[in-house]
């Protein structure tokens, strides 16, 4: 049974399928063999890894199918689809606030296609492309309740695709920027002043960074070896990763909680869209297991953040949540392997 349901104010088709057929580097005129990953059946179903390529402008060619049956579902009998509707692709980049819409042209009876060029300078992180069909004229005749009437009303849409613009946004790299450097020679004054630290969680950037100290040669070798053979190495690696992971996640949680703000437009307490939301979404199920829904957990978190008593209670919950996330039974077993258990 569903925990949430969505209702449309008029008939909407929601299974449009957008196909990205070609990427071309506009400056060199070379085709770009972009790697695609299927992400499942969610609101974003594919990701294209443009971050691995060097480009300034890329042309993307897409096709879209819109069948007779789908048209019948969104238009009242007798209305001409070609006159009333237009397929388009919306392009959004949340980091740069780029918002574009490009219309598609009919290629055959049930197929539309088009190309658009994106400039690298106008994009940051991830751009999202999504197919939709909108009304291009207002329906003036009365009757036929349940069908969209207004100009601009979306009558059909489909899952989006992500264009991973930056290498750091690549789905193959994992979400957190983690890198090694020798703290003694770091550009960062804090790390340079603390050359004996094993790690530093730096949240001064728009995306946080977990920096590991390369001066610890043996730790560097151990952690970079994903398949250690000795049980002692396995155990030690698991323990260090659990410790660093717990501490880093705790730091990230506090930084994310600090960034919760009152949205001027909605008047609601809100978490920024980026990494902060990911951290909180990851931890709130552990923090507030007594709630069944994500919005209930978030509201509980906002309530706790707003009072001293709430913040105290939250700290206790956080200790428990970090253990659940980073030190579960599997990790403890891995650590104990080295002790001969």
């Amino acid at each position: 049974m569903p925990k949430a349901q969505t209702f449309a104010p008029w008939h909407i088709v929601d299974d449009l399928h957008l196909n990205v057929t070609k990427f071309r580097n506009v400056d060199t005129n070379d085709p770009m063999p972009v790697v695609m990953t299927e992400l499942g059946d969610g609101s974003v179903h594919r990701a294209y890894d443009l971050g691995r390529h060097s480009w300034n402008r890329v042309e993307i060619h897409v096709t879209l199918e819109f069948s007779h049956d789908q048209r019948r579902d969104v238009l009242p009998p007798g209305e001409d689809a070609n006159a009333a509707l237009k397929p388009l692709v919306s392009i959004r980049c949340s980091r740069t606030k780029l918002r574009l819409a490009r219309t598609l042209e009919q290629a055959s009876e049930q197929k539309w296609e088009g190309s658009f060029v994106l400039e690298r300078d106008a994009l940051l992180g991830v751009a999202r492309i999504k197919p939709m069909i909108v009304r291009t004229k207002r329906r003036t005749r009365s009757g036929h309740r349940g069908f969209a009437r207004e100009l601009g009303a979306i009558v059909a849409e489909g899952p989006a695709s992500d264009l991973r613009i930056d290498e750091s946004a690549s789905p193959f790299e994992g979400g957190l920027y983690v890198a090694w450097e020798d703290f003694a020679t770091s550009n960062d004054p804090f790390r340079r002043a603390h050359p004996d630290l094993l790690y530093d969680v730096d949240v001064d950037w728009s995306e946080p960074r977990l920096m590991l100290n390369k001066a610890f040669d043996d730790v560097h070798v151990l952690l970079q070896d994903e398949r250690p053979t000795s049980s002692v190495a396995k155990s030690t690696r698991a323990a260090i990763l659990a410790h660093v992971g717990s501490a880093a996640l705790g730091h990230l949680f506090h930084a994310a909680a600090t960034d919760v703000f009152d949205d001027e437009e909605s008047g609601e307490r809100t978490v920024p869209d980026g990494w902060q939301e990911v951290v909180l979404r990851r931890l709130v199920p552990h923090l507030y297991p007594e709630h069944s829904s994500q919005h209930g957990r978030m509201n509980a978190l906002f309530d706790d953040l707003s009072t001293p008593d709430g913040r105290r209670s939250l700290e206790r919950r956080l200790a428990s949540a970090l253990q659940s996330d980073q030190l579960d039974a599997k990790v403890i077993r891995a650590i104990m392997v080295g002790a001969g258990s």
């Binding site: 049974m1 569903p2 925990k3 949430a4 349901q5 969505t6 209702f7 104010p9 909407i12 980091r95 740069t96 606030k97 918002r99 300078d121 106008a122 940051l124 207004e150 790299e173 994992g174 979400g175 957190l176 983690v178 890198a179 020798d182 020679t185 770091s186 550009n187 730096d202 001064d204 728009s206 995306e207 946080p208 977990l210 590991l212 952690l223 970079q224 990763l241 660093v244 992971g245 001027e264 437009e265 909605s266 008047g267 609601e268 809100t270 869209d273 990494w275 990911v278 990851r282 199920p285 552990h286 297991p289 007594e290 709630h291 069944s292 829904s293 994500q294 209930g296 509980a300 206790r316």
Partner: protein, 640 residues
């Protein structure tokens, strides 16, 4: 009005009478709005002068530290011309009134009495309009003279690129006077017709607090004004002002007769608020030169400004220096020249490369009823330029300017140096300049950006930050746009300073996965609620909604909340309130800040509700978007 008897000086002191309501003003609040230090004095006065340039031409500033022996004839003449004995009586009276201001005055009087020399700081500009305008503001109109000499919180500036906008900066001059007194002469471009070619306008103003003297109460401020017309300025031949160092006859090097208009301020009993004890003249001059170089190098390099600093001791010039940015901020100067000459690159590969990239500054539409800025109908991205000069990481370690970004807009003053960390140690260090508004050459929407950024600056004009003032001008969303702007700058710096030939040494995958969400759920709780027979239909301008909440068997009471939200094209769903909601079981129910709720006992596994939504959420019509309905069940055990 309370004029004093005429003296042998250039006029007589006239003091504003205390208000009839008995209110007492213990110091001009303007003096506390900007930091009390020499850097602020240089920033505020130079900014004002740039704003007053004649037809946007070059402005020359001259700062002169003047010291004269108190036993000298020069001091005796100066004292007589300014009627210092009369002024002193009021200063002493004001210092007795206690409060913070009184303590500052007492310290000032004590410093003056202990010192064998009388120190003054003269600040002159050339190539400016001078303090033009009538004695007082008329109706809603103000003018530079009235703004500077009479009014508080009056900037009298209306141009987009103006550096100042609050009218508080002038207070910096008074806060550097032990007597809180400044004399000025101004050579205006447009003078009254009946006056001679060389007549100069003269007045002095003392910014004291409420005080009593000889049984008479005074509001605070006083003016050494025309002997015939109290509170008014005098028009005098330059020779009358020579003993006050305000005759402006000795033009600075490079200034010709065509640029002779402008204003000379004389801060009487000068002290450096940042120095304890009598000011060290050499240090004062050093600090003035450094402040001018560090804050105005864009204007100096653009030849919009020349700054000179000299030091006169008993009529003898012991130092005279023109401010050259290359001597103080050489890296910024090199980066800026490269930008102006169009020699930047898009990708930096080696030390000394100067990289330029564009950073978008999102500007929200303006409100219909605002008249402060050029209207913006739709949100737009203004272009700003980030200019980065790459330096060697190791060499940069000793340079305090390394890894700083200078924020600059139209008037070519550095608003602020922002410290931004560079990338990994394998990357470059840098010196950065963020040129925004009309300072960004050929940038799209430069004027709109200039106007916006001017409004984001606090009284000291030393930051770009969100303030409530912006709410009346731009629609909501400005704060977020400003945050995005600085985040974009930070990201661009990271990219620009990364060496192309070094890959990052990426850390273990297990840690990289810390910022991923594997799926939602409620680990370990077993609390679960789902929807059955849910229905929602548009009814007029709202949604009519009904559903049955099904909960798993539970041992504790559950608090159930149904929630509505509008699914918008991008971003979070927008919460939609209930206008009414009815429960169809016998349950305890209520409404709090999160909306309606009911509590079900352990034996209850389902509860039905029906309700009607509100008609809008955050300005979005409820029936123009998809509606999301979900439900939360909360186990009512404390510290679960």
């Amino acid at each position: 009005m309370s004029p004093q008897p005429p003296s042998a000086g250039l006029g007589r002191w006239a003091w504003r009478e205390a208000p009839a309501d008995g209110g007492r003003d213990f110091g001009n609040a303007n003096a506390y709005a900007t930091p009390a230090d020499l850097e602020t004095l240089v920033r505020e006065t130079t900014q004002n002068s740039l704003d007053a340039s004649v037809a946007g031409g070059r402005v020359t500033m001259r700062f002169s530290l003047i010291e004269i022996e108190k036993t000298s004839a020069a001091y005796e003449t100066l004292s007589a011309l300014l009627d210092l004995p009369s002024l002193h009586q009021h200063v002493v009276a004001s210092s007795k009134m206690g409060q913070k201001f009184g303590a500052r005055l007492k310290a000032g009087i004590s410093a003056l009495e202990k010192s064998e020399t009388f120190m003054m700081l003269r600040i002159e500009d050339f190539g400016t309009t001078g303090l033009i305008g009538g004695e007082h503001a008329v109706d809603d109109e103000t003018n530079p003279f009235a703004a500077f000499v009479r009014n508080n919180l009056d900037s009298s500036k209306s141009t987009t690129g103006a550096g100042g906008s609050f009218g508080l900066g002038k207070a910096a001059s008074w806060t550097c006077s032990n007597l809180f007194t400044v004399a000025l002469s101004t050579n205006v471009a447009e003078r009254p017709r009946h006056l001679g070619e060389d007549a100069m306008r003269f007045i002095a103003k003392s910014e004291l607090a409420w005080h009593e003297l000889d049984g008479q109460a005074y509001a605070g401020p006083g003016w050494l004004s025309d002997a015939e017309e109290s509170f008014s300025s005098s028009w005098l031949p330059p020779s009358s002002l020579e003993a006050l160092f305000l005759d402006r006859s000795n033009l600075p090097e490079g200034v010709d007769e065509t640029d002779h208009t402008g204003t000379s301020l004389l801060i009487l009993g000068f002290h450096d608020p940042a120095q304890d004890g009598p000011p060290d003249g050499t240090r004062v001059v050093d600090d003035l030169v450094r402040a001018a170089a560090a804050n105005f190098w864009p204007a100096i390099l653009d030849e919009a400004l020349t700054v000179r600093v000299d030091h006169l001791v008993d009529g003898r010039c012991v130092r005279d220096e023109e401010v050259r940015p290359d001597d103080y901020v050489p890296e910024f100067a090199k980066a800026y020249r490269t930008y102006r000459e169009g020699d930047t690159v898009t990708v930096g590969e080696r030390v000394n490369d100067v990289v330029k990239c564009s950073i978008p500054l999102g500007l929200m539409p303006t409100r219909k009823d605002q008249a402060s800025v050029t209207p913006i109908a739709k949100k737009l991205d203004a272009e700003t330029h980030l200019v980065v000069r790459l330096t060697d990481s190791k060499q940069g370690n000793g340079d305090p300017d390394t890894n700083l970004v200078a924020l600059v807009r139209g008037r070519k003053m550095v608003v602020k140096y922002v410290q931004q960390r560079a990338g990994l140690s394998s990357g470059f260090s840098y010196h950065g300049i963020l040129l925004a508004g009309t300072a960004a050459v050929g940038a799209a929407h430069a004027l709109e950006a200039e106007e916006f950024l001017r409004l984001t600056e606090p009284p000291a004009h030393d930051a770009w930050e969100y303030s409530q003032d912006l709410k009346g001008v731009y629609v909501d969303g400005t704060r977020a746009r400003l945050q995005e702007f600085f985040r974009s700058m930070s990201d661009a710096l990271r990219d620009v300073t990364q060496r192309r030939d070094d890959g990052d040494d990426v850390g273990p995958l297990e840690l990289r996965r810390l910022l991923t969400v594997s799926g939602e759920g409620s680990p370990g709780s077993g609390v679960s609620a789902s929807l059955r027979k849910a229905k929602a239909v548009v009814d007029g301008d709202a949604w009519k909604v009904g559903a049955t909440v099904q909960v798993r068997r539970h041992e504790s009471r559950l608090k159930i909340r149904p929630r509505l939200a509008l699914k918008v094209e991008q971003g979070h769903a927008v919460p939609l309130k209930w206008s009414s909601l009815e429960w169809f079981e016998d349950v305890t129910h209520g409404v709090d800040e999160h909306g309606p709720w009911c509590i079900v006992e352990p034996i209850v596994t389902q509860v039905r509700f029906e309700g009607v939504s509100a008609s809008t959420a955050a300005g979005i019509p409820a029936t123009a978007s998809r509606l999301s309905l979900d439900v939360d069940a909360e186990s009512m055990i404390d510290d679960a």
